[in-house]
């Protein structure tokens, strides 16, 4: 497995509280991604990063922000968690070549009460 870790692996929080999820890689890949997985929707891209301090929005970015201050770390923040953000969050990394494959982390299960 690619060297990707996510923390925490499980979290329960209350509506309105801020939450930060961390993705850490040891592969020195340039691209990092945050997805959410929900039944019937597959994986949907929230945000991605193409380098330190370089990020862009995905298809479901509302209510989320990201930061990447180091190549190895990509943080996803829910500024004020809502119940609709209850989901499983996956981080992925890629090397941004034309024939790129993404590799996924173990996931974070988030429950917003």
């Amino acid at each position: 497995d690619a060297g990707i870790t996510q923390s925490p692996r499980h979290k329960v929080t209350e509506t309105g509280t801020p939450v930060t999820l961390r993705c850490h890689q040891t592969e020195n890949h340039r691209y990092m991604y945050w997805y959410r997985q929900d039944p019937g929707h597959g994986l949907r891209l929230i945000h991605y990063s193409y380098g330190v301090k370089d990020t862009d929005k995905g298809e479901v970015s509302d209510g989320y922000s990201v930061s990447r201050s180091k190549t190895e770390d990509f943080l996803l923040t829910l500024e004020s968690a809502t119940s609709s953000q209850t989901s499983v969050y996956f981080c992925a990394i890629g090397n941004a070549q034309a024939q790129e494959t993404q590799y996924f982390g173990p996931g974070t299960r988030l429950l917003v009460l």
């Binding site: 929707h41 597959g42 949907r44 193409y50 034309a98 024939q99 790129e100 982390g105």
Partner: protein, 114 residues
């Protein structure tokens, strides 16, 4: 916009049965195609991928997929499934010029009866 359709939401098979999971995509240009598998409680793992060349791609664990450009399809097959193949399977597509965005289908849950 790119989209990926997996028409089978849940497939139930007996062990040793043959498997074919459908995947269709909407993008008209050159694409990269993937199948990922997610075993219960685990993260997504790459099963196989197609970038160019032979349209019949062989992956891990006896899986294969055939790219049919005229049908915009990339169906996953396995001649004889095992109970350990119980998992969710995701088809995904990426256009080489799409700034590394991969679009996933909604997934097909495969249940194998022992």
């Amino acid at each position: 916009a790119q989209s990926v359709s997996q028409h089978n939401h849940h497939v139930i098979l007996s062990e040793a049965a043959s498997l074919e999971l459908g995947c269709n995509y909407s993008y008209g240009g050159t694409v990269n195609l993937f199948w990922y598998v997610q075993y219960p409680g685990q993260h997504l793992q790459l099963l196989l991928k197609y970038f160019s060349g032979d349209p019949l791609v062989k992956g891990i664990k006896g899986f294969e997929a055939e790219f049919i450009k005229s049908k915009f399809s990339f169906n996953l097959r396995k001649p004889s499934v095992q109970w350990s193949d119980t998992a969710e399977y995701f088809c995904a597509v990426k256009a080489p010029s799409s700034a590394s965005k991969i679009i996933f289908g909604s997934g097909t849950r495969l249940s194998i009866r022992p």
